[in-house]
C-alpha cells in the first residue's frame, strides 16, 4: 500500500446537500429503456429453463431418497420448495446484476435525479406484499397438508399423535437412547432388546422413541425419520418402508462427549427375512430378555444413575418429607 492510493471516500462526487447536480428535469425522460420488460424476460426465460432442469434432473436424487413414504414426502416437499424458491432467488439476483451493470455511477458524473418511483410506488409495494403473502400462505398450507396427510411426515409427534397412518398393521419398534448408544426393542416379538435395527419392507413402522438420560434425537436419515428421545417421554414417529437397503442412524441432538460417535446402521429387509431374523434374535437373546424390565413406553430414569447420587437420598438433613424424588427405578430399558 502506498500513499498514492486514493483513500476511501476521497473521490470527487458532487455534493448532495443543496448541490445543484444534474437538475435537469428532462433527464429521466431520456432514459426510456424498458428495464422492466428486459428484467422480466430474462427472469422468465431463466426460470423456465432452470426449474424443470432441477425438478427432473436433480429432484429424484435429493436426499433423503425414497426408502420410506416419509422420506419421499420430504423429498417432494424439498423439490416443490426449490422450484418456488429458485425463481425468487433468480429474480433478486438478476435484478442485482442488472442494477450493478446498468446503473453504475460514472466517476465524477452528475448526481442522478430521482425518478418518479424513488420514494415508493403504491402498485409495486402492494404487489410485493400481496405476492409474498400469497406464496407464504400457499407454502404454509402445502406444508400442513404434507404434514397431516401421510400421518406425520416422519417427525416426532409426541406421545399421543393425532396424525397417524391409516395402515392396518403397524410394527411397533421402541428406540431407546442412552449416553451414548441406541438400542431397539421389538415388543411384538417378546420384547427383546438389541443393538440392531432391522425393519421389514412394505410395512408401517411405529417408532417409539425414548431416552434413559439426557435428550437425544433419533435420526434415521434415509428413512426420513427424526424424533427427539426425551427422558421419561414417548415420542412417536411413523414411516412406511418401501425399499430394501441399509440406512444410517445418528444422534441429532447434542448429548455429551460421545455424541459424534453415537451412530449405527440399520437394514430394511424383506418381510420373510425380517420374521426369520426376529425369531432367531428373540431366541438368541431369550436369557437376557427375561432380565429386562417389562416393556413400557417410557422407563423412568433414575436421576441418581446406577450410583450417581446427584440428588441426596431420602435420609436427608434438609428435608422434612421422607419420601420424595423418583419412584424406584424400574431398572432399565
Amino acid at each position: 500500500m502506498s500513499d498514492k492510493d486514493p483513500p476511501v471516500g476521497s473521490e470527487q462526487v458532487p455534493a448532495g446537500t443543496g448541490a445543484p447536480g444534474a437538475a435537469d428535469p428532462g433527464a429521466p425522460a431520456a432514459d426510456q429503456t424498458h428495464h422492466w420488460w428486459r428484467l422480466i424476460a430474462i427472469w422468465v426465460v431463466l426460470s423456465a429453463i432452470l426449474d424443470p432442469l432441477f425438478y427432473y434432473l436433480a429432484g429424484p436424487h435429493i436426499p433423503p431418497g425414497t426408502m420410506t413414504n416419509m422420506a419421499q414426502g420430504a423429498q417432494f416437499d424439498f423439490n416443490v420448495l426449490f422450484v418456488i424458491a429458485l425463481p425468487v432467488v433468480l429474480g433478486v439476483w438478476i435484478y442485482l446484476i442488472y442494477a450493478i451493470v446498468m446503473w453504475r455511477a460514472s466517476r465524477g458524473g452528475p448526481e442522478p435525479v430521482a425518478g418518479p418511483y424513488s420514494r415508493g410506488h403504491l402498485g409495486i409495494q402492494v404487489g410485493w406484499i400481496v405476492s409474498t403473502t400469497v406464496i407464504v400462505l400457499f407454502l404454509a398450507g402445502f406444508g400442513t397438508y404434507e404434514l397431516v396427510q401421510p400421518g406425520g411426515s416422519g417427525g416426532g409427534e409426541g406421545s399421543s399423535p393425532i396424525w397417524t397412518p391409516t395402515s392396518q398393521t403397524i410394527l411397533p419398534v421402541q428406540v431407546i437412547g442412552q449416553q451414548w448408544k441406541w438400542t431397539y426393542r421389538y415388543p411384538t416379538f417378546g420384547g427383546f432388546e438389541t443393538d440392531q435395527l432391522v425393519l421389514p419392507n412394505d410395512t408401517t413402522v411405529e417408532f417409539n422413541v425414548t431416552s434413559l438420560d439426557v435428550v437425544h434425537s433419533f435420526w434415521a436419515y434415509q428413512l426420513g425419520v427424526k424424533a427427539d428421545a426425551n427422558p421419561n417421554y414417548n415420542n412417536v414417529a411413523y414411516a412406511t418402508t418401501q425399499q430394501l437397503g441399509s440406512f444410517t442412524v445418528r444422534c441429532d441432538e447434542l448429548c455429551g462427549i460421545w455424541h459424534g460417535a453415537m451412530y449405527n446402521t440399520g437394514q430394511v429387509v424383506t418381510r420373510q427375512q425380517f420374521s426369520a431374523w426376529a425369531r432367531l434374535t428373540a431366541f438368541r437373546l431369550r436369557k437376557n430378555t427375561r432380565l429386562l424390565p417389562p416393556y413400557a413406553l417410557t422407563y423412568t430414569p433414575d436421576a441418581n444413575g446406577a450410583d450417581g447420587g446427584y440428588y441426596p437420598n431420602n435420609a436427608d438433613p434438609y428435608s422434612k418429607v421422607e419420601q420424595y424424588g423418583a419412584t424406584p427405578s424400574q431398572g432399565g430399558g
Partner: protein, 222 residues
C-alpha cells in the same frame, strides 16, 4: 512517536495476541497418553491388561472412577487410549476393583462381540449377568462400533475396596478375561456404559464424560 516506535508497539501487541492464541490451542490439544501394544510376532495375539478403580485417589479429580492401562513395560498408566495392530486377536484382562449396581439398561448385561461371545469371570465362563442379583455390574467394556460389550461384575461393596490407583491384586477384585479381533485401521471409541460418574446427574457426567477416565479410543494401526 516515530513510525518505527509505532510499528514496534504494533508488532509487540500482535505477538502477545498470537502467543495467547497458541497457548490456548496447545492447552486444548492435551489428550491422555497413548499406550502402544505390538504383537511379539506378526499375527500373534496381543495381551492387554486394564483395571478399574472406584476412586482415583490423587490428581485433579481424586474422587473420580477410572480405567487404567498397563503398558507393555508393566507400568499402570492413567489413560484410556491404547494402540493395537490390525486384524489381530486381542486378549483382554480386566482387574475390576469397583463395586457394582443394577445396570441402567440390562441389555448391556450380555457378552457380545468377543470370541465365542463369552468372557470369563474369575475363570468361569459367562454370557449374561443378571445385574439385579449378586454384586451387580460395576462397569462395562464396550466398543459399540465393533459390537463388543463385556459387563464387569462388581466387587462386594462391603469389602475393603481399593480407593487409590493403581490398585494391587491384594485388594478384593474380579478378573475378567475375553478376546476379540481387532478390525482395520482407525480410531474406535470404547467406553463404560454403567452410569458411574458419582455425584453427576444420571451418573454420566464427570469421569464418564472425560477422556482418560471411563472412555477412550482403541487405535488400530496397520
Amino acid at each position: 512517536m516515530s513510525l518505527a516506535w509505532k510499528l514496534g508497539v504494533t508488532v509487540v501487541l500482535f505477538a502477545i495476541s498470537v502467543t495467547a492464541a497458541i497457548v490456548l490451542i496447545v492447552n486444548l490439544l492435551g489428550t491422555p497418553p497413548v499406550v502402544n501394544f505390538t504383537s511379539p510376532s506378526p499375527g500373534a495375539p496381543v495381551n492387554v491388561r486394564l483395571q478399574t478403580v472406584g476412586s482415583f485417589g490423587s490428581g485433579s479429580h481424586p474422587t473420580w472412577v477410572s480405567y487404567l492401562v498397563r503398558s507393555p513395560q508393566g507400568q499402570w498408566v492413567h489413560t484410556t487410549v491404547f494402540q493395537v495392530p490390525e486384524h489381530t486377536r486381542i486378549n483382554v484382562t480386566i482387574d475390576q476393583y469397583d463395586s457394582g449396581s443394577p445396570l441402567r439398561n440390562q441389555q448391556l448385561g450380555q457378552v457380545t462381540g468377543t470370541y465365542g461371545s463369552v468372557a470369563s469371570l474369575n475363570g468361569r465362563l459367562f454370557r449374561v449377568i443378571n445385574s439385579n442379583a449378586g454384586n451387580g455390574v460395576g462397569h462395562t467394556f464396550s466398543i459399540p462400533s465393533l459390537g463388543v460389550n463385556v459387563p464387569l461384575s462388581g466387587v462386594n461393596g462391603n469389602a475393603n475396596l481399593c480407593g487409590a490407583a493403581p490398585c494391587t491384586t491384594s485388594s478384593p477384585h474380579n478378573v475378567i478375561r475375553f478376546s476379540f479381533n481387532s478390525p482395520g485401521p482407525g480410531s474406535y471409541r470404547w467406553q463404560c456404559f454403567v452410569p458411574c460418574g458419582l455425584g453427576f446427574l444420571y451418573g454420566n457426567g464427570g469421569p464418564m464424560s472425560t477422556l482418560g477416565y471411563m472412555g477412550g479410543f482403541l487405535k488400530v494401526v496397520a
